[in-house]
């Protein structure tokens, strides 16, 4: 799936050709009715077509103008259709690549959750919720479900695009399996949790395919606005006929009453065709951008909600820090050199396979690369036990221990040694800075303290600063004690933290923020995250998460990358901004169109109105035609912008508003003056 968006040139040409065909099919009245703004253009085009044939027989001289206007109205409609078709084609390409992984699957249905029971082969579509299925190496998993027995490695690349296999096993947080993925080795017994037609994959395909059809709340509000504007402009143009008629017959006694082609041209230019044509494409493109980020939204609504988010609840582990504590410094006890401490720490950790142990060895080698001492073959390794809360090595005379301060203290004192108060101070200091102190002792002598630290991901602080600029608060959620949490929060630059967090406290905090009126987003994967995921306005579940968590979330991240939330917020905001900017542009264009058409339409009645022809357009008919042509070709010019989304920067609302009002508001006023003038010059040259 990741590959589909790196579309080759050839593929693009294919899609464009397909979209062109689709645009013709979309000319059916039923399709046009779905978009009220374009439907008005459609009616106008049909009316003018009839008038054109009438003119051909009655006054052929006028047929040229009528025909030209009508031609460009049809082009306008085709451009609008094309914009929607291109976006839909892209969506369909994505959906069909998904569908490939959903060929007709057969399932080995078990009578009970027992691997050894005899199975019967049935079609995957006939599986019911609660039934059990056996999958073995080489099988495709027939449905979404939960492993109830066994361990297997699973290739989930069809869904995630990630080729490395993942482990799925019964019990715990890795029990969820997805239909359409493949078992590489071993076996699983799965309980069906979603019936065919309702699985994760089905919903994903449905989401992509129906993107054009279901409107989100903001889209509805915007559509209302566009319909109302269209209605007003309809009345403006219809009433213009009697106004013109009166002026010709009763006021100026000269010239001719405004003609139907001019009225329809004015109407089409005034109604917001630009945004009307691009609105469906913008919506689909937003969902596509999300999919490209490997996130599946369960509804279009959740993408918009992402743009509104005020508070991000982020898990410390994995999102803010790398997740493992790592040795950061050696603090030797009085009378001990740092090298002595480092050597002892390294020796005691050589066989320690935990990430912490490895990081100690690494740090020691980094500090003192010449130190190569190895324990003898008789060395006896003492692995960490919950009882002693220490690990270490006994090598002849040398007895090294490493562990939590209080257990080492006990051990040292038992050996008859003393506990230096300086070490106490160091332990205290290290703990206060949010790190974890490990004490190293050699028999009765305390050698010093190793500082283990949570390493904050590089660049994360800058991203949080960007979020703050955009008005979004970040809250770090961690199981650590408040002291540790505060230190890491300060280092990572989050706005707030939630220490010693349990699922209930998380849920409580989300509710509290929501009570205060904030929109909250969070990530989660475990089943115990489900209530919080469901409560959050935007709940992002990792693809590696449990079925329950996936159900509760309204988005799933296929890469299982917790920092993805930041990306999602960006995509949500960009979607809304694109809509707003293009609407503003579309409406602002009207000023120039009035100045092109009004003097042209009335100059025969009141010659003095040519003073309003500030663009100095050459003739009334070419002025009107130029406005209509501009109105049509601005659509294909803006299709790339609609699909790509307008430029997004991490900045405050004030800065964003200023930039977009200047570009799309002021620009929207000026651009058509230039565009219409250029088209007019071209028309005259031809």
């Amino acid at each position: 799936m990741k590959k589909t968006h790196d579309m080759g040139k050839q593929q693009w040409q294919q899609q464009a050709a397909g979209a062109l065909r689709d645009s013709l099919v979309m000319l059916s009245p039923r399709h046009q009715l779905r978009n009220p703004v374009m439907f008005i253009v459609y009616l106008g085009a049909i009316l003018l077509l009839l008038l054109f044939f009438h003119d051909l027989t009655v006054h052929p001289a006028e047929a040229v103008f009528t025909g030209a206007i009508d031609f460009w109205l049809w082009i306008t409609i085709l451009f609008a259709n094309f914009a929607e078709a291109v976006a839909e084609r892209q969506g369909q390409a994505q959906a069909s690549s998904l569908r490939e992984s959903r060929q007709e699957l057969t399932a080995k249905r078990l009578p009970r959750a027992d691997r050894d029971a005899s199975y019967e082969s049935v079609a995957a579509t006939s599986l019911r919720k609660g039934e059990f299925v056996l999958v073995e190496a080489g099988d495709a998993i027939p449905c979404d479900g939960e492993a109830v027995a066994g361990v297997a490695s699973v290739d989930e690349s069809a869904i995630t695009g990630e080729s490395a296999p993942v482990i799925r096993e019964a019990g715990g947080d890795r029990s969820a399996v997805t239909g359409g993925t493949h078992i590489l080795s071993d076996w699983l017994v799965i309980r069906v949790t979603q019936e065919a037609g309702n699985t994760f994959l089905d919903r994903m395909i449905g989401m992509v395919e129906s993107a054009a059809r279901r409107k989100t709340p903001n889209e509805i509000a915007l559509s209302v606005l566009l319909v109302i504007l269209t209605l007003v402009f309809l009345v403006v143009t219809i009433t213009l006929y009697p106004f013109s008629w009166y002026s010709v017959h009763y006021a100026s006694h000269s010239g001719s009453v405004i003609s139907l082609p001019v009225l329809i041209a004015l109407l089409v230019c005034l109604i917001p065709t630009t945004i009307g044509a691009l609105l469906p494409a913008i919506g689909i493109a937003g969902i596509m951008r999300l999919l490209r980020a490997n996130v599946v939204a369960m509804s279009g609504r959740s993408i918009e909600a992402a743009g509104d988010v005020d508070v991000l609840l982020l898990d410390k582990t994995g999102t803010i820090t790398f997740g493992n504590r790592q040795a950061a410094a050696f603090h030797p006890a009085p009378g001990v050199s740092e090298q002595e401490l480092a050597t002892a720490a390294r020796l005691s950790s050589l066989t320690d396979d935990t990430p912490e142990g490895k990081s100690i060895v690494q740090l020691a080698q980094q500090r003192f690369p010449s130190e190569q001492q190895h324990p003898s073959d008789q060395a006896q390794w003492l692995p960490f036990s919950a009882e002693t809360r220490m690990s270490g090595v006994d090598d002849g005379e040398q007895q090294l221990r490493k562990g939590a301060p209080d257990s080492i203290r006990q051990w040292v004192e038992k050996q008859g040694g003393s506990w230096p108060s300086a070490v106490d101070d160091t332990v205290q200091k290290v703990a206060q800075s949010g790190a974890t102190p490990l004490v190293i002792a050699s028999k009765e002598q305390v050698l010093g303290v190793v500082e283990l630290k949570d390493i904050v991901k590089t660049g994360i602080k800058e991203r949080f600063a960007e979020l703050r600029e955009m008005g979004i608060r970040t809250v770090m959620v961690t199981g650590d004690n408040p002291l540790t949490a505060a230190a890491i929060a300060a280092e990572a630059g989050v706005d707030d933290y939630l220490a010693e967090a349990k699922p209930e406290t998380k849920l409580g905090r989300i509710r509290q923020y929501q009570e205060e009126g904030y929109m909250v987003a969070m990530t989660g994967d475990g089943t115990n995250d489900s209530p919080a995921l469901a409560q959050a306005d935007v709940g992002l579940c990792m693809a590696s998460g449990t079925q329950a968590a996936r159900e509760a979330a309204n988005m799933v991240d296929l890469d299982s990358n917790p920092t993805k939330l930041l990306e999602i917020v960006r995509i949500g905001k960009q979607l809304l901004m694109t809509r707003g900017a293009l609407t503003t542009f579309s409406v602002a264009n009207d000023i120039a169109k009035y100045f092109a058409i009004i003097p042209a339409a009335f100059v025969s009645t009141y010659p003095q109105l040519s003073a309003l022809n500030i663009m100095q357009l050459s003739s009334p008919s070419s002025a009107i035609l130029a406005a209509v042509i501009f109105n049509a070709i601005v659509i294909p010019f803006l299709i790339p912008l609609a699909l790509r989304g307008i430029k997004f920067r991490a900045e405050s609302a004030q800065q964003a508003l200023r930039r977009n009002v200047l570009i799309y508001g002021v620009g929207g006023i000026i651009a058509p003056f230039i565009g219409i003038k250029l088209i007019n010059l071209l028309l005259v040259a031809l």
């Binding site: 509000a221 915007l222 209302v224 606005l225 109302i228 504007l229 209605l231 007003v232 009345v235 403006v236 219809i238 009433t239 009697p242 106004f243 013109s244 009166y246 002026s247 009763y250 006021a251 100026s252 004015l266 918009e304 743009g307 509104d308 005020d310 600029e469 955009m470 008005g471 979004i472 608060r473 009126g517 904030y518 905001k573 809304l576 901004m577 809509r579 900017a581 609407t583 409406v587 602002a588 009207d590 009035y594 009004i598 003097p599 009335f602 009645t605 009141y606 003095q608 109105l609 309003l612 997004f648 405050s652 609302a653 004030q654 964003a656 508003l657 200023r658 977009n660 009002v661 508001g665």
Partner: protein, 587 residues
Amino acid sequence: MSNSLLLTAALLLTVILLAIPLGRYMHRVYDGQRFWATRALGGVERGIYWLIGTSPAKEMDWKRYALSLLLFNLIGGIFLYLLLLAQGILPLNPLHFPGVPAGSAFNTAVSFLTNTNWQDYSGGSTMSYLSQMLGLTVQNFLSAATGITILLPVIRAFARHETRDLGNFWVDMTRTVLYVLLPLSVLFALILMEQGTVQTLVGEIQVHLIAPFLSQGKTIAEQTLHVGPVASQEAIMMLGNNGGGFFNMNDAHPFENPTGLTNFLETGAMILIPIALIFLFGHMVKAKRTAWGILVAMLIIFIPLTLVSQHYELAGNSLFHSLGVTQANTAGLAGGGNMEGVEDRIGSGASALFATVATATSTGAANTAYDSLIPISGGINLFLMQLGEVVFGGVGSGLASFIAFMIFAVFLGGLMVGRTPEFLGKKIESFEIKMASLSILVMPLLVLIGTAIAVSTTAGRTGVFNPGPHGFSEMLYAVTSPANNNGSAFGGLSSDTRFYNLLTGFCMLFGRYWVYLPLLAMVGSLAEKKKIPVGSGTLATDTPIFVGLTIGVIFLVGALNFFPALALGPIAEQLAPPPAIIHQVTH
């Protein structure tokens, strides 16, 4: 022109300085605080509540509020209608005027009810004192108070959250009349009387002429002057944006507007309460900067328009220039410029300022003949009304409509910063957009369709007096003014016909109630919403860029709809080369 600039600056500055404390005072009144005013009049206030069986604690949701408002207006309208019909047999009719004809009575009742004060009759020679005082002046108070009661729930919807309560209509009405309109009017009437505005219940007085003259062989030494309770009506008609004068000459009449000072004060009185209400909004919603933003936006629209109007009036009639007639500022020409229809005590500059203020607000009073304005100045009158009476606008109703436009601006702006739009912490969703659209939509439809009917029918066209584009302007004005509850008349159009009585009556009713009912429905929904805390990611509504966006929306969504119609009226007339007009006149 520099005098005109000074006058405009002095006027706006004075009014804003007076409106600031008035806004604070009104906030204390509507907040129900105990202070000197409520201590003084609290007894009366509580007495009224006792009488009608209500109390400030009994709040209403939007439906009950709207229903009470409609009911109150309906009763007031019927009462006024019957009073006008029956004035011939009622007391306080020293000049023995007969009952008002039914068509005119309907039009007048609707007109005063809706704060329009479109007058198809001649004030001084149609209405008995009882009609003037008990009918028209009372409605002057009540219709202005109704405008404020429309605004109050709108403000409360932003000030409150998660509630259905939007205030009590009867309490708001009582407080508005008792604490705001009555004291201000009394004060203003006293100032006017001191300056020479008449206030008496005598019908006519006989005065000796300073210079008796001979007519048909008789020496005429005496003159009958029509007087009456003018100052009291004048005060509220300006403060309450009513604009229906005691005399047909309205504020050009020396008994209504006797001195330069009264002219200044009367011009200022029209915008005093509308501006004070902006500050009230700032206090109640705790959004003072947004309130200033609103005021600045209004001033940015208003000042250039009034200055252009004044400039063209002072420059005079270009036809006279080409004929070599002087229109310079000479002793006999009171400031110079276009003096046709101008009261020379006032001059054309101050008249143009008055005209723009009267049409920017919904007052519609006049101290000059609007029909005689230079075409572009007349066009500016039209344009100010066609903005939807949102620049200052009617008392209360103007700010309410302005807020509807702000909802549009917030919607576009909100999307452009990448959030679901929110205004002062309230989310703007499709229902709000629907209702704000309905509210803004009604007026252009009324004006455009109404004018289309007028130009298409013989009944509409026969009223027109002037040829050329000016005739079209007259009809456009005759529909625009009532549809915006302004009430000023362009003249030149005989509007006391069955056709215009019905058309304008219809426009006034729909222009009032159909604009504000959707708005009340909208705030009903807004009040129930949560208040979203403001952060750096939310759209601020008090920045210059948002003020600019709001102005842009008002022009693009509101005013631009009238561009084609204006092109066929005032613009064509203004741009006409002089020979064409001379030719037309001789033709």
